[in-house]
Symmetry: C2
Subunit: 258 residues, 2 copies
C-alpha cells in the first residue's frame, strides 16, 4: 500500500486525511507544527503524528497542504527521501516552489472550498494534478484517483486560470452574499431573509448548462429605472455603488455575447 | 373563499398560481396578453383564463405579476372593482405606480428567483408585503399567509433596499459563476469543474450565521502574491481585472470590520 504523509493541519489537510482514510489508504503520518492540531487530525484516521522536522516518517508521497505563502519554507525545511514525490495543493503556485533537491515534484489541487466543521464529498471534488517527472505524475495520479472520480492533468498556467475562476465562483460569490447581508441589515431585516434565494440561485446554476442561461435581474433585462434607483440607494456606499455599476455592465455585455 | 385573479404569465405568475393552488385557494382567473401562455398557466389549477381587458373576472384581490416596467401600463388598462385590492410583486416599485382610481393598493414581493421549469417551495419564500389602507393590508396579509410562513410587512423604501440586497446575493452571485465559466474555458476546462464548489459555497453560507464568517480566498487572507498573479492573468480582460480588484478590496475592508 502506498505510504502517504500529510504535512499541514488546516482544512485541506483534514479533508485529505478523511478522504484517504475513506478510500482505505489512511496516511502513515500527519506532520504539523502545532501538537494539538496534529493529534486532532491524526486521530481521525488513527495514524501517527509528528511535530519535529527530524520525526518525518519515510513515505512514497508527501502532500504539503499548508497556506500558499508557507509552501516554500515548509518544503525547504525537510530532507525528503530522494525517491519520494513531494506535492502541494495550491491552485496558483507552480512546481518551482520546491527546493532543487526535490526531484519528483507534483501538484494535487482540489477545486473546492474546505471549511472547519463541514465534511465535503471528496469523490465528487475535481482534482487538478501535475507532475515534474513521469514517476511523479504516476504517483500523484494514483493518489488522486483514490480520492476522486474527477481527476484531470493540467499545467500550472492553466491551473492558475481555474483558480482565478474559483475565486470568482466561490470567494466573490460569497462576498456578494455578505454585501446582501449588509443591505438587508440597513432595511432592518437580517441574513435569514436571503437564504432561500441564495440556495435557489446556486441550485439553478448547478442544474444549468451555463449560468448565463439562468441570469435574471435588472442588469440582464437592461432595466435602467431599477438600476438607477439602486445606484441612488447606494450613494452613501461609493465602493458598493462602484461594484454595482461594474457588475451590471459586465452582465449586460455578457448577455449580448451569448 | 377569497377570490384572487393573477394578471401575468411569467415565472412569478406561474409560481403564484402553483402556490395558491397548493394552499387550497386557486385563483378564479389568470389574465394574460398571450392566449397560449394564459391557458398554459390556467391549466395548472384548472381555472378560467382571459386575454381581453373587458373579460377580467370580479375578484377580491388582483395580483399583477408582470415585469417592473409594465406594471403602470397594465394597471391603468383595467377598471378594477372599486372595493378590490390591487397588488404588484416588484421589489423596487412603490405603490404610487397604480392609477388614482385604485384605492386599495398593495405589494407582495417574494424574495426569491423564479425560473421556467423549476418549482420553488413558496412556503419557505420570504414575502414582503405593504398595503395603502388597513383593508388592503389585511387582504394582502391573508393572501401572503396562505402562500408562505415567512410574511413580513415592510415599507417601499426598505423593500427596495432588500431588493438591492437580492440583486447582489442572486443576480451578481450568478454573474460571478458566469465569469468563473469564462475563465475555466480559457483554461480548456468547462463549467462542470466549478459545480461542486458553487454548491458547497452556497451550502456553507446558508448554514452560517453570517457569510462573513465563512469567507475564504486570497483577498480575506490578504495574500498579495496570489492576488497579483490573478490580476496579471486578467490583463487581457480589463473589465474583469477591475471587478477583481474592487471586490478583493471590499472583502478585505469587510473582514476588518467584522
Amino acid at each position: 500500500m502506498k505510504k502517504i504523509v500529510i504535512i499541514g493541519s488546516g482544512n485541506v489537510a483534514e479533508a485529505l486525511v478523511r478522504g484517504l482514510s475513506g478510500a482505505g489508504c489512511p496516511p502513515v503520518q500527519v506532520w504539523a507544527r502545532g501538537r494539538t492540531k496534529a493529534t486532532d487530525i491524526a486521530r481521525l484516521c488513527g495514524c501517527a503524528f509528528a511535530t519535529e522536522v527530524k520525526e518525518l516518517a519515510p513515505a512514497d508521497v508527501y502532500i504539503i497542504a499548508v497556506t500558499d505563502r508557507a509552501i516554500r519554507q515548509v518544503a525547504a525545511s525537510f530532507n525528503f527521501p530522494p525517491d519520494s514525490v513531494v506535492a502541494h495543493t495550491a491552485g496558483s503556485v507552480g512546481m518551482d516552489v520546491f527546493p532543487p533537491q526535490v526531484k519528483n515534484r507534483a501538484v494535487l489541487y482540489p477545486v473546492q472550498t474546505f471549511t472547519k466543521g463541514r465534511t465535503v464529498d471528496f469523490s465528487e471534488t475535481p482534482l487538478l494534478i501535475e507532475g515534474s517527472s513521469q514517476y511523479a505524475l504516476r504517483q500523484v495520479t494514483e493518489v488522486a484517483q483514490m480520492l476522486s472520480d474527477k481527476v484531470r492533468q493540467m499545467s500550472s498556467e492553466r491551473r492558475m486560470m481555474v483558480h482565478a475562476a474559483a475565486v470568482f465562483a466561490c470567494n466573490f460569490a460569497n462576498h456578494m452574499y455578505s454585501v446582501g447581508e449588509e443591505l438587508t441589515r440597513e432595511a432592518g431585516a437580517d441574513f435569514e431573509i436571503l437564504k432561500p434565494l441564495i440556495a435557489e440561485t446556486a441550485g439553478k446554476a448547478v442544474a444549468a448548462r451555463s449560468p448565463c442561461d439562468v441570469q435574471t435581474g435588472p442588469a440582464v433585462r437592461n432595466d435602467f429605472e431599477t438600476r438607477s434607483r439602486h445606484v441612488e440607494l447606494l450613494a452613501q456606499k461609493p465602493y458598493l455603488q462602484n461594484i454595482y455599476i461594474n457588475i451590471s455592465k459586465s452582465i449586460w455585455e455578457t448577455s449580448k455575447k451569448t
